[in-house]
Symmetry: C2
Subunit: 319 residues, 2 copies
């Protein structure tokens, strides 16, 4: 694909970097220039054999490769959903967690929005994170043993749940955490029903193949604010319009207990939720053991390990 | 339906007014008490014969009666859509309109959000408002000649289009404009495609049969703020949860040129729009000539006539 083909009709200011001249050791420069750029992905999405045996079918792996995500309806049983939902309720009400750095509250309502590193807080969630239904799929996709890069629970209450603006997780993990390559996969396990209208996750299918280099430098301690509301590392509107025009938008809907596996570089976001139907999910990021973090590529300092683990311990049954 | 049947499991503080003891001449008290209440609708939704001839089919009228709304795909031709979209673009860019009281801008971005009384600003929109495809349906639904109570254009830009929180238009028109009965119908004509994810209109089907009495008094000049962001006359979360539980939520999607006719008392709202796909529509409210405005039922003063017309002139071909 040429730079020309990526221009958006009527705008045409997005260009593809000649990455060699910027940073020979960094194929994905971001937050270093004053103009956005689109960079084609170098590495595969499904690593190794797409017929590798495991819980994901060959068809699911092929869809994951093509779209950057794959879904599993009913990954959890209703009993498991109920048990984990109870755990989340307890955690949201836990006064010791409320004052913890790992807990992020809504900007306006001060309600709990996210809690990080939950696999170290909750035995139940640790068990889920090590469950073959999750880890087995992560191994199939990443073609290696995997470790937990990040875990969190997300709450989006009814009536006033705030959305997440469009972003690529990899852009942040690369810039702020020093993740070298796109060899991580996230899984979002729904504990509530996802409708098209209650702020469900939106993905641009296929967008994982394009890295959107963002403008502006990362301020110090940016993460404290960005986990509530991102201001740096957000893609420009022109690149988003181009990606949406090229790929369209998919919504992740389905009953509680379903799971979405998505590539670290998917362009995704969510709208707010004014409906009475709350949303909550458990979010676990598996990274390949061959993709351990280095120093941040575009930030003055590392983020805390509860956001970006630096201990590479394979999780689950080592195959 | 009894008060008991309307209690929401686990809450149970909503009750049905004995309206007679509050205001014998006002069946829909609102903004007068410190607790919300649910009041059953008294008047019909489709007035008169549901087989009355006109552009709406008998089936569409029956659906409108049951759900409180009805849709018409392709009401406008693509050429008409393009012509009207051009008109909206011109109006959004018109410096004389920008400084006009009738123009409402987004709270954050200052972009034009709505322009009121557009049938008096634009000849094209005046013609649309008098078109039999619209007026004929309004007459069928309201069973009488109709006049234009309000007209406006709404813009919801991509990336940052703000939503509208849940509300019943009738609640506001009754409280702040003195509309006596639920004998008005709105039509929203889409000039852009509506997807489930770009902030389309959500309605709770059947909610038009229940009036949600809101708490709190109306402050002076409330309309200046409320047209951007409503703060009074918003239903309480418990009543909304009850209605959503009972009726569910429908989304109005479809190609540009489609139209939604909905009852004045439908509970409706919309999410924000973070997608690159903007939304715009023309919104016209027809009121029955037998339902002319009185003094506000729950506000210190009338709102301006560009928001709530007091001149009752039948529109379109008088039948």
């Amino acid at each position: 694909m040429t730079a020309e083909a990526q221009r958006y009709p009527g705008h045409g200011t997005s260009t593809v970097y000649d990455t060699a001249q910027y940073a020979p050791d960094n194929p994905y420069p971001t937050r270093v220039a004053d103009r956005p750029a689109l960079i084609e992905r170098r590495e595969p999405t499904v690593w190794g054999d797409t017929r590798r045996p495991g819980p994901h079918t060959a068809e699911q792996l092929a869809l994951h490769d093509r779209d950057g995500f794959s879904t599993v309806q009913g990954l959890l049983t209703p009993d498991e959903v109920a048990e984990l939902a109870g755990e989340l309720d307890r955690m949201a009400a836990d006064p010791t967690l409320a004052g913890d750095d790992r807990t992020i509250v809504e900007k306006r309502s001060r309600q709990v929005r996210s809690v990080f590193e939950v696999h170290r807080v909750s035995r139940l969630i640790a068990e889920l994170a090590a469950d073959e239904r999750l880890v087995g799929r992560a191994r199939q996709i990443l073609g290696s043993e995997v470790y937990i890069h990040q875990s969190r629970i997300n709450y989006k209450p009814g009536f006033a749940g705030g959305g997440f603006y469009w972003h690529s997780d990899f852009e942040t993990w690369h810039a702020e955490d020093g993740m070298p390559a796109m060899r991580a996969v996230s899984v979002s396990v729904s504990l509530t029903d996802n409708f098209p209208y209650n702020g469900c996750l939106m993905i641009m299918p296929g967008s994982h193949r394009t890295f959107v280099s963002c403008v502006g430098e990362t301020p110090e301690e940016h993460y404290r604010e960005s986990l509530r509301q991102q201001e740096f590392g957000t893609p420009d509107t022109e690149s988003l319009a181009l990606l949406a025009d090229r790929y369209g938008i998919a919504q992740f809907t389905g009953a509680a207990g379903s799971a979405l596996f998505f590539d670290s570089n998917c362009m995704h976001g969510s709208s707010d939720n004014i409906t009475p139907f709350p949303r909550s999910n458990i979010f676990i990021v598996y990274n390949s053991v061959h993709n351990a973090l280095r120093e941040p590529f575009a930030a003055p300092a590392r983020r805390p390990e509860y956001v970006a683990a630096r201990e590479v311990t394979p999780v689950g049954r080592v195959g």
